[in-house]
Symmetry: C2
Subunit: 793 residues, 2 copies
């Protein structure tokens, strides 16, 4: 942001007020027009029922306030040359943002058929809340947007995500007083403790108190002002109030407030950047109090509407049938004097556009809202430097996430000047054994630092706050503005962001269909501290269902990987970090885990996504008698141990071992881009042999993915079935029937003819299982792991 | 709570300080002992490696602070006869709460083998973080608990839920400074705007700032005190500070603070109850600052531990191998002087127990924490009074949720004196068309009221805040303390509480296995504004996956119902509201929907959970040619319309119509208590005929439920597949291939021999589909619905 000296209190000239008001009225007119009109958009003739849409749908209530903010952001951007991005938090601000981007021309540049003239205006109106048209909330289709309306709570964390490592950017974030009641929003106020005034941009929250939600007053609007101020100061902000319902007065106050806020931001940034001030800044927040549905009908059918919750959606509902409503609508629309706002062709007149900035400074045109255009490839180093050497499978142990930490450290180093890579997580980076990154970047922290603290860093790019919502929102905002990142979380608790990831996947799905949106970096999850390790936690920490949740969503976006060891984790992470427009979910353990594959083998295996591990099986050409399949680190270990037990005890049984890394490979080719053909599937799993599949999560997921396959009726899946508690790793697998002994018994039970022939082996397995459990009860630990696997040469 | 006059500032006698400190030291000793010892619990002999657990697991850091709170709550409960419940927010407070309930005797009363003597102490120690033992967080197994540790964020909303309609109860809620960073916790501070000082109890938040999370300082602990005070006052509280690391000083300060807080609570309640003061009270909050791992090792291996994040789990990690660590542990444990705290038999001495209250006043014994013992049956009136008359299926329309609203109104009325039923929702009660309840109870609101407001009520039992997390937390707390309720939500956004419902289901699953826990009322969801109606919303509002999420969890707890019309909704709701220990998910539309079943037929159908609608099919004895199955209101309508089209166009085809209300019926009997036998399933769906199943949500859910059935290979499911946008209801079903025309085409494609014979009918269907879509594009509305269904007589 250009350096700006502190200005005197803003005093708008009458002419400035007049043109700002013209812009605002034009936006209000267009917002109302979208809700009501499908013809006669400029009111060139008297309003008649046939001009009105057959279904009146949309949201007027929040629009006038958002229009005011947009108008005034235009003014200060133009006056100061500010590099700005706006986030529109109120859920149903669609009519307003669409109106403003049409006025500034970005809508027509993006969608040329909706031209900036009378004809385009009619299209703008008609498409709104119309079948196949645009929704009543901001969406990926909206120019200048990185934040979907609808589900509330994420505006402020998105704003901070956008501001990180964008030192010249001001992110204005309108927070509705409805949204302000949500948990994610409430938590994200404290994001200012993580915003670096030197290397990050600024976030200017604009808390818009129009007083009502759908049907209720809002909590914050009904706080006495001093109490609200205490709250905002407690959040670390300095409040600036703009209150009123007289447009001209509010214009003056809003202009003054925005100048004050931007001056203060510049001052705080200069202090930190030029004068080395390290005290956490007290950033400004604007509190804007204007009536809900401002300038709309004051009363309808004898009850107050403007300034009440009744203005939330469509203030006049019966316009086509009720002449009085039609008359009221016409009066309302004409109160903006469209004839003074638009010329003979329906184009906005010069006064209306006086405040609008030029080119990419327009809020609908900022490249930050189409982050893909700013995206640079992430420098992922060669994996060979981080790979663990594997001469023979299962002879060494590594903690996979710790190895990944080394890779992440290198990426963190290599991006230290570019500053376009961040690691986020809820206080778990070290717990998840990724702490090597701290040697390349500390943890962002603007709070007080004590001598005992470690790795806290004003300029750090590791973000840790105990709020999965805030982590997710930050990362989304960061990615959507063209940067890269990874979210590491305990597996069970990532469900906290189920609904957020839903919305992000929807965003990506829709964006991929918009040619003007450039691809952005994928949202990458590393889920660790997973269900199979409950040493001191327990049932509350067990949930492998995030994979199920994600796999319900658009297949073109979602990818799920379960690397079985350190090198496969490296390979999968490499792919995920380089990819675009996906949501990649990687599930990997942090506990010591056998190394199975060399780096080359891991690369080849991960590229296929699923394959036969012939060194672990006992096939001799021909079809196997049974397939032991596995996905996930713990199931893989149990399957390999089961294969060893079978080799030792039933040496003539032909066992195939198949490992699956990329879960979508199991799906039909028509249902997921990674899906295998039936030919390929049958080649791996056979058409008619028993398949014992040991899976990391809920077993029915495998059935849901593979139910169309020929061999599905022979598929027997073991997985997590809501059993377990605080216990040892081996006891966890026993309690869920995923252990090696159980798997061998499954083989014996399912291979035709084996039940009788191998009855004594089966009994040995049952005995070994019992012995192991008795040992655990007695000693509190597992028996030591086997060392001699007896692989094929 | 007994009326208490305001007291002078508390001054403890030296003797009181001494006995309080003895209790606290005993609790600290027991907390540390649980983490380390499996023998020699009373340190009667020198500590040797073999006394130490082989795996050191657990959490010391938060324990001393929680022990302090427990000790002092004991004191005030005993002194005042307060009826109190405690919620322990810090995730890993297990060692502390277990220690305290063992000291007060409730642990041994609940688990007699863990007796209050040396032998029991050894068992208490050994079971902790031991295979098959108890986790390091509070759990259902913990006496006095209604709040699981582990996943953080819900302590305060649980506390408010417990306090609603319990006017004599004080709920003390310890909030860790880690938890305080989460979104759900941050939102729930504003619960005080909904707490009625007259008819509800009090919540006393105790914000425990020990400064660190797992590996980071906490945000709130590093705020300057004046900023934290602003925040807490902004939340509507009056802060009382207790800070220190000198035990005796802190005891005096804590006693004073608790007396001050309880005096203030009594004063505020008296003002509201006796003097009619209606101003929202400024409730007290205690801010307790004590070191993390207080009284543990100050330094280990040369680095500071007490008062740092390093005290989070096990401060001395190498005790069995490292003699210095062993020595340090012994010094630490002996610093509490166990020989003065426990008698020769290992029983706590009188001084230790001096502060402990009697009987049910002990925190581990309060019946509020075992709500089932307080639960009264909910008075659900006869459904016949609310049923819609149905002479002939599909001839009248009703909004199902509006009919349910009438029933809820009656229940609300009938519980107006008992006050044990609440409706919660995120500002959607009216939007979800349940507004009839407002005639029986308004919406709880303690804020400022304006003349324009409607249905706000200081004593209301409808709770609306725009935070699904807070709604869920309130309801959970309310149910866990023995009351009833219903949560209504938009279907798509209920994913916001995915992780919370996970934890509640886990709680119920575990509780059901504990004979001492009495069953509580089920947690009932009404999901409406569902995926098939996107008139002005769009893709962001579409998600039917909560059903999938819930059906992953323990089958003994979860129930999912998709009633197809108003009367079936009544029947299902009646069952859900009367049931216990379940999570019931009901998905039902709020838009006008055809009435299919009379009340009697609906009751019979819902009792079966799935059944043949012979009036809609064209069977004539014998097996049908095809089965049209449906689950959900919109799919049912489309299937019935498809059946009508088939009857008209292919009159000799034998079509069976099956409707499924209770989704678990589709599961095998062995996997869910509601599961059908194969015999029953085959009787409904046949073994070998094509089944076209129109389902409300993701189609693969049906496969996942039915994959073991003989006829599974003939099952073809239509459902939601992530298509759709802002559009008409019919366009939504077309875009997802769930429409009547598509279903008829599916029948033609799948019934052997029909493809050729019915080619022209197939073409007619495709044409009708196109015509309908063209109409929608042109007019923005659907064609009018058919009226003549042509049912069987």
């Amino acid at each position: 942001m250009p350096k700006v000296e502190h200005q005197d209190a803003t005093v708008l000239t009458d002419d400035e007020v007049r043109t700002l008001d013209a812009h605002w009225r034009a936006a209000n007119y267009l917002a109302a027009g979208q809700i009501y009109l499908m013809a006669n958009p400029l009111l060139r003739e008297p309003l008649r029922p046939e001009h009105i849409k057959p279904r009146l749908l949309g949201h007027w209530g929040t629009s006038p306030g958002l229009n005011l903010v947009y108008t005034h952001l235009n003014r200060v951007i133009k006056a100061r040359g500010t590099d700005a991005l706006a986030i529109w938090g109120p859920g149903h601000g669609g009519p307003s943002v669409l109106a403003n981007s049409w006025l500034e021309g970005t809508y027509s540049e993006t969608y040329p058929d909706v031209s900036r003239d009378g004809e385009g205006m009619e299209r703008l109106f008609r498409q709104f809340s119309f079948p196949g048209g645009v929704p009543s909330h901001v969406a990926p289709e909206t120019p200048g947007s990185i934040h979907e309306g609808g589900e509330l709570g994420y505006s402020l964390s998105h704003a901070y995500g956008a501001a990180f490592d964008n030192p010249d950017l001001v992110v204005a974030c309108v927070i509705g007083d409805g949204e302000a009641e949500t948990g994610p929003l409430a938590a994200s106020w404290h994001s200012n403790k993580f915003l670096d005034p030197v290397r990050d941009g600024a976030v200017l929250p604009i808390l818009h108190l129009n007083g009502y939600k759908i049907a209720n007053p809002t909590v914050l609007a009904r706080l006495p002002e001093h109490e609200l101020d205490e709250l905002l100061r407690g959040y670390g902000h300095a409040p600036i109030h703009v209150t009123g319902d007289d447009p001209l007065t509010v214009h003056r106050a809003m202009a003054h407030a925005l100048d004050e806020a931007l001056d203060r931001i510049a001052l705080l940034q200069n202090s930190a950047r030029e004068d080395g001030v390290t005290e956490r800044p007290r950033w400004p927040v604007i509190v804007l109090r204007t009536p809900k549905g401002w300038t709309g009908p004051a009363e309808v059918d004898g009850v107050p509407v403007e300034g009440t919750w009744r203005a939330h959606q469509v203030p006049l509902a019966g316009v086509r049938e009720n002449p009085e409503h039609l008359r009221q609508l016409e009066t309302w629309l004409r109160s903006y004097h469209p004839e003074r706002l638009f010329d003979a062709d329906g184009r906005p007149v010069a006064d209306v556009l006086a405040c609008v900035p030029e080119g990419d400074h327009r809020l609908g045109a900022t490249p930050h809202a189409n982050g893909g255009v700013l995206l640079r490839e992430l420098p992922v180093p060669s994996l060979d430097r981080f790979a663990v050497p594997v001469d023979k499978p299962g002879t060494t142990l590594h903690e996979p996430t710790r190895i990944l930490g080394d890779l992440l450290q290198e990426i963190m180093k290599d991006t230290s000047h570019r500053r376009d890579f961040r690691l986020v997580g809820p206080d778990e980076t070290a717990s998840n054994r990724l702490q090597a990154v701290f040697d390349a970047s500390g943890k962002a922290w603007q709070g007080i630092v004590l001598p005992v603290d470690e790795h806290l860093d004003r300029h750090g790019r590791v973000l840790e706050i105990l709020s999965e919502h805030t982590c997710q929102g930050w990362l989304e905002g960061y990615l959507l503005t063209g940067r890269h990142g990874l979210f590491s979380s305990y597996e069970a608790f990532v469900h906290i962001v189920d609904s957020m990831v839903n919305q992000h996947i929807k965003w990506l799905k829709t964006s991929r269909e918009l040619p003007w949106r450039a691809p952005i970096a994928s949202l990458n999850y590393l889920l660790t501290s997973h269900v199979w390790r409950q040493d001191h936690n327990g049932f509350s920490h067990q949930d492998p269902g995030f994979v199920d949740h994600v796999l319900n969503k658009s297949p073109e976006v979602v990818r799920v990987y379960l690397p079985p060891d350190a090198n496969t984790l490296l390979s999968v992470a490499d792919h995920a970090l380089r990819s675009k427009d996906y949501v990649n979910v990687i599930v990997a353990g942090k506990q010591p885990c056998f190394d199975w594959l060399s780096m080359d083998a891991a690369r080849a295996h991960c590229a296929r996504g699923a394959g036969i591990w012939d060194w672990a099986g006992t096939e001799n050409g021909g079809e196997p008698d049974v397939v032991l399949a596995c996905a996930g680190d713990v199931p893989t270990q149990e399957v390999l141990a089961a294969a060893q037990l079978l080799r030792r005890n039933l040496p003539d049984l032909a066992v195939r071992v198949v490992n699956v890394v990329d879960m979508a490979r199991l799906m039909p080719r028509e249902e997921h881009p990674h899906g295998m053909s039936d030919f390929e599937y049958d080649g791996l799993f056979t058409k008619d042999k028993p398949v014992i599949f040991a899976y990391h999560g809920y077993p029915w997921l495998i059935h849901r993915l593979a139910y169309r396959r020929t061999g599905h009726k022979n598929l027997h899946v073991r997985g997590y079935k809501e059993s377990g508690t605080t216990t040892t790793p081996f006891d966890m697998v026993v309690r869920n029937d995923l252990d090696r002994y159980r798997l061998v018994m499954d083989v014996i039970d399912r291979v035709p003819g084996l039940a009788v022939r191998a009855a004594s082996v089966r009994q040995q397995m049952a005995d070994a299982r019992s012995r192991h459990q008795a040992w655990i009860r007695e000693h509190g630990t597992d028996l030591p792991e086997v060392a001699d696997w007896g692989w094929n040469a």
